[in-house]
């Protein structure tokens, strides 16, 4: 029974990684942009909520609804006025610029908040658990996983059921022809990054409630996100959820064998998937 419990805890942990990865997957899927500052933006979102919680005395679950539109605007502006200028045939400029952005964000957060670990204030909900038969599940991991599934469902609805989603897919296929249809690719990309940062804010909520954070943990979140996206297949949203789950399960199983193996086991799972399926589990046909 302990192994069943371990695997279920791993699946739930995968929800957190899927939340880290969903925004990255969205942005990559639409504009082939690898945002190396993604992890730092998650950490920045956590600090933004910490500020809102501290200044306004709000619950983190309310603060997230104020932070989401703020982060959307930040993402829109960031893409429209900075990242769009880096897009083109050469893949190096976006990597360099987002790498620079990552360093700038880390240093700005260090300057503003120091290197001390922080945590969003917890309440009874964050430590509550439910018994499912012989297994005890934390409410927070369950909420995290449910949020990840809802985010993926929401993004799929957006992509396949709305006019904006059609424009996302058309622009991703061929931005020049999309502009002949009256679409402004620069605005479509800005909107996509805005939505990605809304998802980043949700990820930041659970990051801040479940663990301590400091300005330097962004790059590690980026690596988990990146691995989940690549395992799932670049641009596949459901694949990203599965990628997160695979890393989560590998980590909890690794930790059950030897607590020192937790992080390593996740990376080994990533390498094994890459060896077997180099393009991920659900690659897009036209990638």
């Amino acid at each position: 029974m302990i192994w069943v419990d371990t695997i279920i805890q791993g699946i739930l942990l995968g929800g957190l990684y899927a939340l880290f990865a969903a925004g990255l997957s969205l942005v990559f899927g639409i504009m082939r942009l690898v945002n190396l500052a993604h992890g730092d933006l998650i950490v920045m979102g956590a600090y933004l909520m910490l500020v809102l919680v501290t200044l306004l005395g709000l619950s983190p679950f309310l603060a997230v609804f104020i932070a989401m539109p703020l982060m959307f605007v930040l993402g829109w502006v960031l893409q429209k006025f900075l990242l769009n200028r880096t897009l083109g045939d050469d893949i190096l400029p976006p990597l360099l610029v987002t790498f620079g952005l990552s360093i700038a964000l880390q240093n700005a957060l260090l300057e503003g908040f120091s290197a001390d670990s922080q945590r969003l204030p917890t309440n009874a909900l964050t430590t509550a658990s439910v018994d499912v038969g012989p297994i005890t599940l934390g409410v927070m991991p369950l909420l995290t996983f449910a949020s990840a599934v809802l985010v993926i469902i929401g993004l799929n609805q957006l992509f396949y059921r709305t006019e904006l989603g059609r424009a996302f897919r058309a622009t991703s296929d061929d931005a020049t022809t999309a502009s002949l249809m009256g679409i402004k690719p620069a605005n479509i990309f800005a909107t996509a990054t805005g939505i990605a940062l809304v998802i980043v804010t949700i990820a930041a909520l659970y990051l801040g409630l479940r663990a301590n954070f400091d300005p330097n943990i962004g790059p590690a979140r980026l690596i988990y996100a990146f691995e989940a996206v690549i395992i799932g297949g670049l641009g596949s949203l459901w694949g990203t959820l599965l990628g997160g789950i695979i890393i989560g399960v590998a980590q909890t199983v690794g930790a059950a064998v030897n607590p020192e193996w937790q992080i390593l086991a996740g990376h080994v799972a990533f390498l094994v998937v890459l060896l077997v399926r180099p393009r991920g589990l659900f690659p897009r046909a036209n990638d």
Binding site: A170, D173, L180, G182, I183
Partner: protein, 235 residues
């Protein structure tokens, strides 16, 4: 007064100059054909008018407005739609989604909507849920034309709509042109197939090496005139 006009239009790809002072006119409810051999500059001319290649603002005017420096999406919003060379359907979208993307971000009043496009090309209604790129070349061309019509354009630019298609399929596609004209659109049709172009056009421009070498009504142009303008006088 011309509805759409180019004046001394030039175009470059880096250091390479592809158009040298091209002047053409399109009147209201008129169909103009642009003919010429490969590399004559026909597609570059279409891309310049559609805003894919940008120019001096006064190099292209539409409805008395200078549109030469506008981006493609802004020119589309003015009422100039393009059927690009090679169809360029979106692989991620179904046939119906490809058609609907032609109306992105606006509600257009006019003859063309999903129903009238399906009436024009009934086969598309049967294939509406298939990926656009899973269709035959001719059917893909129908989607590309329908997609442009969905915006109810005042000017429709058709770039090489017969390219790579079997003669019987080309005939089917060209059967739609009179209906498109009857619905009110003015058209510029780029063609290598001279006979097909002559059959649908009110006026013809022949291009060679980035310049207009001949223009006139189909009746006024002799076979020799066209041959010389198409291949050069000494060919």
């Amino acid at each position: 007064m011309a509805l759409l006009q180019t004046q001394n239009l030039t175009a470059h790809y880096g250091d390479f100059q592809a158009l040298f002072g091209v002047d053409i006119e399109l009147g209201k409810a008129e169909t103009v054909a642009i003919i010429g051999a490969n590399g004559a500059g026909k597609t570059t001319l279409m891309r310049s008018i559609a805003g894919v290649l940008q120019n001096d603002p006064r190099a292209v005017s539409f409805d008395n407005k200078n549109i030469g420096a506008l981006a493609a999406d802004e020119i589309m919003a003015q009422g100039v739609a393009m059927v690009p060379e090679g169809r360029k359907l979106f692989p991620s979208l179904t046939v119906e989604e490809n058609l609907l993307i032609g109306t992105y971000g606006r509600k257009t009043d006019g003859h063309w909507n999903l129903k009238t496009v399906y009436d024009l090309f009934p086969i598309l209604a049967e294939r509406r849920h298939n990926p656009g790129t899973a269709l035959s070349g001719g059917q893909q061309q129908m989607v590309a034309i329908g997609r442009a019509l969905m915006s109810n354009p005042r000017v429709l630019l058709c770039d090489e709509i017969s390219l790579g298609l079997a003669p019987v399929v080309i005939k089917d596609i060209y059967k739609a042109i009179p209906q498109i004209k009857a619905a009110g659109a003015s058209m510029i049709v780029v063609e290598q197939d001279i006979a097909q172009a002559m059959a649908v056009a009110d006026r013809v421009y022949c291009m060679m090496e980035g310049r207009v070498t001949l223009s006139g009504t189909p009746d006024s142009l002799s076979r020799d005139d066209i041959h010389n303008a198409y291949f050069g006088a000494n060919h």
